[in-house]
């Protein structure tokens, strides 16, 4: 049952006016009226084309959308940019429009909680969440996300994208292989802006008392996905299409991304430790459409600066890394940091061992946890430099093989993490 005490009177009034629906689509606002209109347009188009008999609603969780400078007004009626997505209720067929307004942009966690509560009160059978920031969103994306949850009784639907081989490097080198090895299921895009879920999973998550936790406030989708995996809900993946990179300068910087995603993953390891410790190996998930795709066009990147930041980090953060890593691992990292940049390689085994030691140190709180995750940033830069150098000429098939090898290395070393995790913290006196 939804705890509607945090919902505003205005939102409750709108929800009561709507009554019940079959499908709900939530839009996480990015304070941009134009992108909101575009997303709303695609969602409504998708619902009209693919779910003609269902009762539907679209909820925009809005932090006070502002007009983009130079807002594009070239679209006609029903097209993005025509101000059709205004606050309040207006019915088009059976699609209701709901706006949950906040003073200032709500955290992603609060936005998801609002969507879950609304979904619960509207008794929606399936719900999808989309981000207007994704420029390639199309009507097919929304339909593809909703279908497995609505028609095939899946509880959690994760997206699959087509990406350039040097995009999503954190997901490729850390988040995906580590999640796969530990939780035993192969979800490629756990940290994504689009996903869908059933009313069963929505109700389950809504009743969890974790909404005040920072990892849930910042990356609620990962927590929801892991909750689904570990509580034996039915999960699947669905191919959506190409995911272009955000424009330069958009989105948080690397440090903030690592704090949110890696911090969230380490926290999830702690809160679900019984579930991951018992699992062995990994299983693929049912997948709708083609599997993810990797493209390999040439791309210009500034790698030298990345290597410099790695070397400086290893040198300056020595005492901090000493309290996180074992002496052998630290010594190996300090050893490779002295190599010439043309000869430098970050071995897979060392990368995995190091990450597992970071996770165990996070668990044992050897230093402040936020500081611990920040200490990972220079090492991640070193790994990415090595990755970019090593695979600059690699084909898409080569990249897949490399990715698979890394996943297997994470699985092979899992007992090491379990051992470090269970070991008592060694206080250096």
């Amino acid at each position: 049952m939804a705890d509607e005490t945090f919902l505003s009177d205005d939102l409750l009034r709108q929800l009561m006016s709507v009554g019940e629906v079959d499908l709900l689509v939530g839009i996480l606002s990015h304070r941009s009226a134009n992108t909101m209109r575009r997303a709303a347009h695609y969602i409504e188009k998708s619902l009209q084309q693919n779910f003609v008999r269902q009762r539907m609603a679209v909820i925009s969780v809005d932090g006070g959308a502002v007009e983009d400078p130079g807002s594009d007004e070239r679209y006609g009626d029903g097209e993005p940019g025509n101000n059709s997505y205004s606050k309040g209720l207006s019915t088009l067929r059976t699609i209701h429009r709901i706006t949950a307004a906040f003073n200032g942009a709500p955290s992603p966690g609060l936005a998801l909680r609002t969507i879950l509560s609304s979904s619960d009160l509207l008794r929606a059978k399936a719900c999808a969440v989309v981000s207007p920031a994704t420029s390639s969103t199309s009507p097919e994306w929304v339909a593809n996300l909703l279908r497995p949850a609505f028609r095939d009784n899946f509880d959690f639907v994760a997206p699959l994208y087509s990406r350039h081989k040097f995009q999503g490097l954190l997901a490729r080198n850390l988040l995906y292989p580590m999640t796969r090895a530990l939780f035993g299921r192969r979800i490629r895009e756990l940290y994504s802006d689009e996903w869908a879920f059933s009313n069963r999973l929505g109700g389950f998550c809504l009743n969890e008392d974790v909404w005040h936790e920072e990892p849930v406030r910042s990356r609620p989708e990962a927590w929801m996905g892991i909750s689904a995996l570990t509580s034996d809900f039915r999960c699947c993946q669905v191919y959506l299409g190409e995911k272009p990179p955000p424009p330069d300068g958009a989105g948080p910087d690397l440090v903030e991304v690592l704090r949110q995603t890696v911090g969230s993953l380490f926290w999830l390891l702690e809160t679900h430790q019984q579930a991951w410790m018992e699992r062995k190996g990994s299983e693929p998930l049912p997948t709708f459409g083609p599997d993810h795709a990797v493209t390999a066009e040439p791309m210009e990147l500034n790698r030298i600066r990345m290597f410099e930041l790695f070397q400086t980090g290893v040198k300056e953060l020595g005492p901090i890394l000493q309290s996180i890593l074992s002496p052998e691992t630290l010594s190996s990292i300090q050893g490779i940091a002295t190599l010439d940049q043309n000869l430098f390689r970050f071995p897979q085994e060392l990368w995995v061992t190091m990450l597992y030691e970071f996770a165990a140190s996070y668990h044992h709180s050897v230093i402040n946890r936020d500081h611990l995750v920040q200490a990972l940033v220079p090492l991640y830069r070193g790994k990415i430099y090595s990755f970019l150098t090593e695979f600059s000429e690699a084909s898409a098939a080569d990249m897949e093989a490399v990715s698979e090898n890394l996943c297997l290395e994470f699985e092979r070393q899992k007992p090491y993490l379990t051992e470090k995790w269970k070991a008592g913290v060694e206080v250096k006196t």
Partner: protein, 233 residues
Amino acid sequence: MRVTIVQGLEQAYYNLVHMIAEFLPRLLVMLVIILVGLVAAYLLGHVFRAVLRLTKLDRVSEDAGASRVLRMADLPSMTELLSRSVFWITWLGFILIGVSVLGVAGLQEQISRLFRFLPEVFIAMLILFLGLVLANFLSRAALLASVNAGVRSPKIWSWSIRFVIWILAISMALDELGLARQTVLAAFSIVFGASMLGLAIAFGLGGQDLARRALERYLGNSAKEKYKEPQPL
């Protein structure tokens, strides 16, 4: 004359015997109090040590960076330091009570002054400890932020923050103890003011180009110079 001398000696002997008769029981009581205090202090220290080990204070101390400073000063671990402090403070309290039983004139006043001063000593120690913890936490945060942002000489920022907080904590602790209040205040103002003035002059005269570049960067005139990384997600 002779009688007077004999009477005087008798009186002195009588006084001495009387004093010894009065003093010996007090001395005995003092020794008993000190001995009981030793046992009580030992037990209290032992219990305190066990409680601190249960609460894993050493881990918190390690996290806050306080243990590193203790090691640098060749001091034992935080648990050991606090439990030894409890032992000595308890025993010292008993010793002072025992000495006061002797009833030596002038000593009573000094002992009571010492007891009145103890709370201030504790508060000063607490201020120093909190300052130490805060300095380590903030200096580590500054070091991480500087390293990750690619700032040159990140340790300078980290040590500057640590130094300023230490100076502030020491000044506050000395002020709490009431030791050379005016001198401490003046010294702090001079050191802090001189540091800031030095930085301002160094940045203003020696780093005009750096200041201009920094301002341009923050005002967005040279956005192209900003380092771009591959998208992590």
